[in-house]
């Protein structure tokens, strides 16, 4: 077993357990913290895949900025404890059934198709370094990039329109 596999499996345990913890904890703050751990584990995966830029962006944007806002909102609203939502009787068995089906199918696929999965592409030198990311972003994907900036501007204007106090006359 190479060190990569050990790293991969260890991270997988962390990622899956933290995801489960996020779902099962009754305290919203704990859920948010589990989610942060999950995001960080994903970031380390990106590192293993040779994409440090995306890894660190993942931590900055998701684990840092977005989750801080989540926690901020949870604290301001005092919504740490979620009440038990009344679920229909069929929801729990249905969810369990679907989950079991998913696990069985993925196990089947993993064990039968293990050798037919495409091999990962050899990482070329300089892959995923900031310079290359920048070149792709501003050359091939320049139009989506600009549209996204427009989109964010619109979202900002919209948020202000919807929350601004009534205009004084």
């Amino acid at each position: 077993m190479s060190i990569d596999i050990i790293l991969f499996l260890g991270l997988a345990v962390v990622a899956i357990l933290s995801a489960a913890g996020m779902l099962f904890s009754r305290n919203a703050i704990y859920s948010a913290l589990f989610l942060i751990i999950n995001f960080s584990a994903i970031a380390v995966y990106y590192l293993i895949l040779g994409a440090p830029f995306i890894a660190l962006t993942q931590i900055t944007v998701y684990a840092g900025a977005i989750m801080v806002l989540f926690i901020f909102v949870i604290m301001l609203l005092g919504a740490e404890q979620t009440g038990r939502t009344p679920a229909s009787w069929w929801m729990r068995p249905l969810g369990m059934g679907l989950g079991a089906l998913l696990i069985l199918e993925s196990l089947y696929l993993i064990f039968t198709h293990l050798h037919s999965f495409p091999q990962p592409i050899e990482i070329i030198d300089g892959f995923g370094n900031p310079g290359q990311v920048g070149e792709i972003l501003f050359d091939k994907y320049v139009l989506p990039f600009e549209i996204i900036s427009l989109l964010l501007l619109v979202a900002m204007i919209g948020a202000i329109v919807l929350t601004k106090k009534k205009m004084k006359r």
């Binding site: 440090p52 660190l56 900055t60 840092g64 801080v68 926690i71």
Partner: protein, 370 residues
Amino acid sequence: MIMDWALLTEWTIKSLVLIFGLIGGFAYLTLFERKVLARFQVRIGPNRAGPHGILQPIADAIKLIFKEELIPAKADKIIFIVAPIITVIPALIILAVVPFGPDIRLFGRTITLYISDLNVAVLYIMSVTSISVYGIVLAGWSSNNKYATLGGIRSTAQMISYELALGLGFVGPILLSGSLSLVGIVDAQKNVWFFLYQPVGAFIFWVANLAEVNRAPFDMPEAEQELTAGYHTEYSGMKFALFFMAEYIKMIAVSAIAVTLFFGGYRGPLVDQFPVLGPLYFLIKVVAFLYLMVWVRATLPRIRYDRLMAFGWKLLFPISLGNVLLTAVGIGLVGITGNNLWLWFIPVSTILFFLLVSHFAQGAVAGGNK
């Protein structure tokens, strides 16, 4: 394999030196601050423990370790205990990408005076900064105390707001050096420190830094008059010491980063001939910045909270955006004309822009949110 072990040993030693250096630095920074503050206020400062009070930090440490540790009955125990640890770790690891000196030769090996030359080092710093909010906000929340929670929430709002200006402050040196690696940024400052090209950027970066580490005049989260001791109201003993430690280590860290980005890092006269001078220059510059921090604390009163936010959003943020734009224009001009003198367009135009905006934005900031 032997090389690997040697490399591993080297890394371990370097990391340990960095961590213990920071912890020692923290201890003596407290003494330094108290002494300097005392001079500002025409006092003498601590002078009992050892000659000139030189053993004072050790006395403090002993006191803190032997104090009783309290955990409030209604606190969230796990997070209450973990929060100080979460606060300290980012402060300790953030300097891993900062070079302290040029490569030196020791025992027949070339040893680099940084732990890692990441090609995304600036992003690394940004992400560690963004993580470091959690310790404080969780400490405030888990104490189950209104003052502490408010302190925690205030600090979150403040840090999120000033992170924007901070991040944009990074962009100037990145554009000028064409590198996201701090080693590359320092190398690019061989002839001219970026401070000269980026006076406004450096200023904004420094102000935002003060807010990020919750130093006066932005020490809102621990405003005694309003919030008793802010987020660490309920902490005592060693856990309190950890918060204390994190704050002072962060002071050292941001000073080191500011020096690296804008003031040539370890660069100085004769460094290339005598590499040992590198760390020395670095230390001198960092101490100068720490002195500046204490000086600011001794001089400026704390800003009111709403004005703090208005200052960040309405003044610092637009100016740093304009700074990025004008820097890019200046570099573009160099690219078009091929004449390096156009770089001086950047400081001239940014300073004019700064004066213009601060003139017009005065009302907006002073008015605050009504």
